[in-house]
């Protein structure tokens, strides 16, 4: 919250403000224990940063003004022009969607009115999970539950140190855990996580680290072999290269002996054909294990506001993105309304691109379509958009809320400095009002 008395302390005789319990919007973990100092519009992390947070909070943005075809204009002029051009569109595509809950609410209201399609820049990764959820469902855990309870953690296919830098420190190796004795140290198993993943895993709660090295595209095969081994079924084909049956048997036994096992994956890291199959086998293993002991999955997606976008879209429309409002009612088709595919195949006649996080905010894909960009100043652009409206970043420039990767917890974001730029929600609502 802006001006929240509990979050700010004000040292005497300086304009430097120190903010505590700051939530970081730059990855799906939304860590909320950061200390941030603000002074003359510059932010500095004083506590609990990571590489992503550092890059995001301290980035220097160019000055920017609303523009129509590259010419600076006043905000209200840009909003009216955006509305005029959007109104002429027959099938506008609302992509990117890197925004907070409030921004997503406003974009959905606009897309509903304009009869457009909504999809997030990371939904290709999201759908590796969603397709499993919609086919068989799953059994999941959350960050705090895993932090206190897990005695076996199996990480599949992700170098978490890169995408979610503080996962190990905050979830796998915290100073205290609630259930000493059962989860005081945990065994960490890495399946196909790359050569460097183990190096990041340190801390007093880390017991044994076991690496099962395999190529990313072999992950479904390894998981399938593990599942068969756990069930005592013979392997129909030999274990994939580099993996021995002894390793699988050892891991199967560890899974059976675990009190609370957690299988962790990051959908954006599973970049190979059939990645949803890997997610499905993970969920199958969890389901099997729960017949005798306790197991759960934990997915670490949620970057760039994708967890917020899919949650808000689900509660407002019934569907987790890839929704068209063109008929006047929400229509869902994860293939047809994949905006990346639609742009490739020449579908849609207008692009509204929303991107307000980063650290490197995702720019719109190259396209010939008329485009409105609602984005962070300095966003990478292939061409000059028809209308560009710079917006603040939630959690730095204005308050807001963000849903965490586990889809359960959401956190308040604070405005830490004065920003000349409007919020995405103001821009979307302004365009809608002018339609």
């Amino acid at each position: 919250m802006p001006n929240s008395h509990q979050g700010i302390s004000r040292p005497a005789a300086t304009d430097r403000l120190n903010h505590d319990c700051v939530a970081c919007p730059f990855c799906g973990l939304v860590c909320d224990d950061l200390g941030v100092a603000s002074s003359a519009g510059r932010l500095q992390i004083t506590k609990n940063g990571c590489a992503r947070a550092e890059a995001g909070f301290t980035r220097l943005l160019p000055e920017a003004a609303p523009q129509i075809e590259g010419q600076n204009v006043a905000l209200d002029v840009a909003l009216r022009e955006a509305a005029r051009r959007l109104k002429a569109a027959r099938l506008p595509l609302f992509g990117g969607l890197g925004t907070d809950v409030e921004g997503m609410r406003a974009v959905l209201s606009l897309a509903d009115k304009a009869g457009g399609v909504v999809d997030h820049v990371l939904s290709r990764a999201l759908y590796r999970n969603t397709s499993v959820l919609q086919t068989k469902g799953w059994f999941m855990s959350t960050l705090t539950e895993t932090r206190n309870r897990a005695d076996l953690v199996i990480v599949v296919g992700a170098d978490l140190g890169k995408e979610h830098p503080r996962f190990f420190e905050r979830v796998l190796s915290p100073d205290d855990v609630m259930f000493e004795g059962s989860a005081d140290t945990r065994t960490v198993v890495l399946i196909g996580c790359g050569a460097h993943a183990a190096a990041d895993i340190t801390g007093k709660r880390i017991g044994q680290i076991i690496e099962i090295a395999c190529a990313p595209e072999a992950i479904p095969m390894v998981l399938g072999s593990l599942r068969a081994t756990i069930k005592g079924a013979p392997l129909a084909t030999p274990a994939p290269a580099g993996v021995t049956e002894a390793q699988l048997a050892d891991l199967a036994q560890r899974a059976k002996d675990a009190s609370y096992g957690v299988i962790v994956w990051a959908p954006q890291a599973l970049q190979f054909d059939g990645a949803d199959l890997a997610v499905q086998i993970i969920c199958d293993i969890v389901r099997d294990m729960n017949k005798t002991t306790r197991f759960a999955g934990l997915s670490l997606g949620g970057n760039d506001g994708v967890a917020s976008a899919s949650s808000v879209c689900s509660w407002q429309s019934g569907y987790p993105l890839r929704v068209s409002f063109a008929s006047g009612a929400p229509e869902f088709d994860p293939y047809r309304f994949d905006i990346a595919r639609m742009l490739d195949d020449g579908e849609g006649d207008f692009l509204v691109w929303v991107s307000s996080f980063g650290p490197e905010p995702a720019g719109p894909p190259a396209t010939d379509l008329p485009t409105i960009v609602i984005g962070t100043p300095g966003i990478a652009l292939h061409t000059t958009p028809d209308v560009f409206i710079p917006v603040g970043t939630p959690g730095l420039d204005h308050s807001g809320r963000l849903v965490r990767c586990d889809g359960v917890v959401s956190l308040p974001l604070r405005g830490l400095r004065h920003s000349p730029h409007p919020r995405t929600q103001d821009v979307a609502a302004g365009i809608e009002a002018a339609l």
Partner: protein, 553 residues
């Protein structure tokens, strides 16, 4: 602005008004006594019409993470159930798990002006309120779930001073912006995380050593001493398990006079008699409820068709996954706070078990004497979607219709139920108690659920129709805070209802031990865990009504 509703037959049980012809006057949103000198701005001739306060649903799962999981998981629930955008209304979808805006619209179109989300995990409270914020038309509120959260269980296991436990309950209600407290499978959600698969009333939690009975007594007493109006809202042990009627009876006896609300009691009234080892416990439950004036219930009636069950009870929902239809489900362990289970379900009238569940719910409705202590719910969407309420009302008011419906169910279930012998028909007055006055009184809504001067102008006007299902499906007028929002079952004005909360006094020094707990174990800070007023007011464009609480004992 003064409006007058002229000549309606008014059913206002909170004020003892049973179908008398009366005029109602509403000035600037509130009901006032007749003032012959005042100029009436709008007059509605409602002669011959049935006039009641706006209906209040005291237990409906409409907002929060488990509902959004259900929405995400079940596109098949939404296809074919689309609502198109209009000049006035946003688009939406959904039958069993409607989108938030659609849920608000459908409630208002049925004459409901308030609905309460009964299972808000404190860890998920922010999202619950965001979803309720996107549920227009009706007032709302939510019950904070306690009883499987590790903080309370640690307090109890350490035999901490009862004062600290009360302070924690009070703190949680403030932090989560709750109006009441619910316990779900007391201790069982936590026990399931330790691989316990059942936890009966006097079984011990494997780690903490406390029993559901201890937890129920602790929370019920705590709420009473905090002066919270709504008693502990209890989803008991062993939901859905044949034989659980014994647990339910023991739970009522265990309370020793402490007030308790037993929710969706239909799911907890099963015996083990007969060839199928599944029988009705309704007679025993109703008998004990009738004897114990400290107990109120809602039924959680099931109605036949496709729906989705969604509950905080991860332990029992995991047990129910074998009945999932379609075959998919989600179970979650959540934040050392609680859990959830989302299991789609299709109740079939030709299934013995489902048919008997249907009959058990109706038996309970008809056997409990005092309509002030039984509320009309389907535990939306667990027993059926809330849009089936008019059908349920007809089942209760029309014994001929009820018998016709009973002919269609599994013949063995017909034989196993005493339903055919129950001639009771609910009156309009009793329906008004069960759907308005009773829930309002139980939840402590000071100015809702009745029509005396001073009450807010939440009013529903029905055409009197012998087909009670048709009557309650399409009210002629619905007023919210004195504004006409629905005419002939169609929304004519969109409003944003308020959020009702209760804020018992608590000693703020409890935050010392909470701050230590949060910093050691949680991945969210204490400060950010709390849902702040401005989130509801500014971010959700809503408002907060703080309902009164009694003095702390």
């Amino acid at each position: 602005m003064l409006i007058k509703l002229k000549g309606g037959r008014v059913y206002d049980p909170a004020n003892g008004v049973d179908g008398e012809v009366r005029d109602l006057h509403v000035r600037d949103g509130r009901i006032i006594a007749a003032d012959p000198s005042a100029k009436v701005d709008a007059e509605y001739d409602v002669s011959g019409r049935v006039v009641m306060a706006g209906a209040i649903d005291p237990h409906t799962h409409i907002g929060g993470g488990k509902m959004t999981i259900a929405r995400m998981m079940l596109p098949e629930d939404h296809r074919g159930n689309e609502y198109h955008r209009t000049q006035l209304l946003r688009s939406g979808t959904g039958f069993a798990v409607p989108s938030t805006l659609a849920a608000g619209y459908r409630y208002a179109e049925m004459g409901y002006t308030a609905g309460f989300e009964p299972a808000m995990l404190p860890a998920n409270a922010r999202q619950a309120h965001m979803e309720l914020g996107d549920t227009p038309m009706i007032d709302k509120g939510a019950f904070a779930m306690l009883g499987s959260d590790d903080f309370l269980l640690r307090q109890m296991a350490a035999r901490e001073d009862f004062k600290a436990i009360k302070d924690y309950i009070g703190w949680t209600m403030h932090a989560a912006q709750a109006i009441a407290v619910k316990v779900v499978n007391p201790g069982g959600i936590s026990a399931f995380k330790f691989n316990q698969r059942k936890l009966d009333l006097d079984e011990s939690h494997a780690h903490y050593g406390v029993s559901p009975r201890d937890i129920l007594l602790t929370l019920a007493r705590g709420l009473k001493e905090l002066g919270v109006t709504h008693p502990l809202h209890v989803h008991g042990c062993n939901l859905g398990v044949p034989g659980n009627v014994e647990t339910t009876l023991a739970t009522i006896r265990a309370m020793d006079g402490l007030p308790l609300h037993l929710t969706h009691i239909q799911f907890h009234s099963y015996g083990t008699e007969g060839d199928q080892k599944f029988s009705s416990g309704a007679v025993h439950v109703a008998e004990l409820v009738n004897q114990h004036k400290n107990i109120s219930i809602d039924v959680g009636q099931i109605l036949f068709g496709q729906t989705c069950t969604a509950s905080g009870d991860s332990m029992r929902q995991y047990g129910n996954t074998k009945s999932a239809h379609p075959k998919k489900w989600v179970i979650m362990d959540i934040e050392c706070d609680a859990g959830c289970g989302v299991v789609p379900m299709k109740y079939k009238d030709k299934s013995f078990v489902n048919a008997l569940q249907w009959a058990i719910g109706l038996e309970i409705f008809l056997l409990v004497d005092d309509p002030w202590r039984v509320f009309l719910t389907t535990d939306h969407p667990n027993g059926a979607p809330f849009t089936t309420y008019p059908h349920l009302i007809r089942l209760l008011m029309d014994k001929g219709f009820r018998r016709d419906m009973m002919q269609k169910i599994h013949p063995e279930a017909q034989k196993a139920s005493i339903l055919a012998s129950l001639d009771r028909e609910y009156s309009l007055y009793e329906i008004a108690i069960m759907t308005r006055a009773g829930p309002a009184r139980s939840l402590g809504l000071a100015d809702r659920g009745h029509l005396a001067p001073g009450a807010w102008g939440d009013i529903t006007v029905y055409k009197d129709d012998a087909d009670r299902e048709a009557m309650f499906t399409t009210p002629e007028y619905v007023f919210k805070n004195g504004e006409l929002i629905v005419r002939d079952g169609k929304i004519i004005k969109v409003v944003q209802g308020a959020t009702h909360v209760a804020r018992p006094d608590y000693d703020k020094s409890i935050e010392k031990s909470l701050a230590d707990y949060f910093s050691r174990y949680n991945t969210v800070s204490l400060h950010n865990f709390k849902v702040h007023d401005e989130e509801i007011i500014d971010h959700d464009k809503g408002s907060i009504i703080v309902q009164p609480t009694g003095a702390r004992a």
